[in-house]
Amino acid sequence: MSYQIQEYATDVERTRFAPRQMAVYLLMGILFGIILTKSEVVSWFRIQEMFRFQSFHMYGVIGSAIAVAAVSLWVVDRMEVSPRQEGKSMLGRGVKAVGIRHIAGGSVFGFGWALTGACPGPIYSLIGAGAPIMIVVLISAVGGAWVYGHLRSSLPH
């Protein structure tokens, strides 16, 4: 019952750069950034509001996003949308193992999310939206990923 989206480099992307395909991703990013910013998901104040249970807004955003995404995947699966690349299906099946990484890493992420009022997407959009100070947060986040990459063999997963 659980899906696993199967990434598969499109033929066009096998050439590694593929400018036209990259233009599509750029446009998608711009649209997503607009949505995150216009709905104030990027706002530290909104995240505080969420963690204080003082508004439905963020729960509504996340909840309806999940619902729409879930139904969409079900539709993609049902329609057996034909993958144009070598007969590989877009949605595999299988349950990913639940590990310590999910609850531990998740909690650590949560600490940062409440402190900065931003998850990665909003960090990027805030830089464009007039809060260049968030570049410091971005560099710190890259630093966190870097340290993780070097420590991971010592961490439980």
Partner: protein
Amino acid sequence: MDPVAEPWPWYVAGPLIGLFVPLMLLLGRRRFGVSSSLRHICAATVPAGARYFRYDWRREGLWNLTFVAGLVIGGFVAVRIIGHPDAMSISDATIDSLSRLGLTSFDGFVPAEVFSWKNLASPTGIVTMILGGFLVGFGARWAGGCTSGHAITGIAELQLASVVATVGFFLGGLAITWLVIPLLL
């Protein structure tokens, strides 16, 4: 007032966000998620011998790096071209709670009193921006995803692992909000 310049409600933004899962899948055979960009940036700039950063980041991650560049532009477009009110539409209760903790300015997306270059020299600034950012990056990569990869895509895939991660996100966030933020502000 112009409905586009006004803040967008959850029932507009949420579904649009959710549509990015099938959109990225159909347009590029990609699994929607943002935190992997942090890994790709490390791999592209300072891999420093870690196996985690040894992979073809151009092939696996260039799409994602392009996407997050778009996020930056999108933030700009939203404010400068579409326009957005100075003050967020947050609840009075939140303004009240945060006022009690010492915040006085509620304009802008982030509190200017906390998120300022000057504040980088203060303990509050260091904890909020530098430690906070560090924890976002470390935690997201340890968990294997952030709100986009786990809370939205992963739960849409009906993966229990993503539900657990999301529970973690909230437990961590609640702990900081209720136990640490009051001490910081």
